[in-house]
């Protein structure tokens, strides 16, 4: 199990390195930067979309677009490129609301994942940013 843990830590460290390297516009990730203090999951958003308030009213008066990409669009677009991530509340709706976001996307690494997979994730996130940013 120590080897599994080491592998997860390596992938997370590599992910945070890739994140700095790619520096994708509006990409936000959650959790500590120290791989000793976290597990093998990487939760993130392409721009943060606030949740609707519980009174059932929309806090703004229009469709939210611009630089934010909804986590479900992120995961669908990654899926098309054979990158499988989960998106949504991850059975932790109160935490999402505490973070002030409608949902997050999450890559969950395990023994079968490699650094190549991490690279592919960021290549595809950069592609998605372009698609939703209207080719910008």
């Amino acid at each position: 199990m120590d080897q599994v843990r080491d592998h997860e830590k390596d992938l997370i460290q590599y992910t945070l390195k890739m994140e700095d390297q790619y520096n994708i516009e509006n990409l936000v990730s959650y959790g500590p930067r120290d791989s000793d203090e976290r597990g093998g999951v990487y939760s993130f958003n392409m721009g943060e979309i606030p949740p609707m308030d519980m009174g059932g009213r929309l806090m703004d008066n229009g469709v939210v677009i611009g630089s934010s990409v909804h986590p479900h669009d992120v995961s669908s677009s990654l899926d098309v490129s054979d990158v499988a991530v989960r998106s949504g509340h991850h059975c932790a709706m109160p935490l999402n609301h505490r973070l002030g976001v409608v949902a997050t996307s999450r890559a969950s690494y395990y023994v079968y994942n490699t650094r190549k997979d991490v690279e592919k994730l960021f290549e595809q996130l950069e592609r998605i940013r372009k698609v939703y940013g209207n080719g910008r």
Binding site: P51, R57, N61, G62, V63, I65, H89
Partner: protein
Amino acid sequence: MEDEERMEFIMEHYRHPHNSGVIDNPTHEITEYNPVCGDAVKVSILIRENKVQDIRFVGRGCSISQAAASILTDEVKGKNMEELKKITEKDHLDSIGIRLGPSREKCALLSFNALKKILVKYGGE
């Protein structure tokens, strides 16, 4: 390829939604919310002389949910109530035109469900 073209059509509606906003004095207004994904649309409608004079929406959510609302509002504007009642779930999904999985279908149907609830309200008056 056809799917790709259709996806561009969806993205166009998402980036530049038709009929976005609220009507000042709507005859009906409904907010439909999906607690699982957090997507929401608020549809306001003005029905006069048995006809949809105006329909607008505001919302928050993924491209599919918001584009679907844009497409639906385009479609129902100017229609009379009999025509409106005839629009089925399948008609709406066909007008979106891309294959959606079961969870994304719910996104697409958010605005459709709002419209159906408005029809129930209208029928009850």
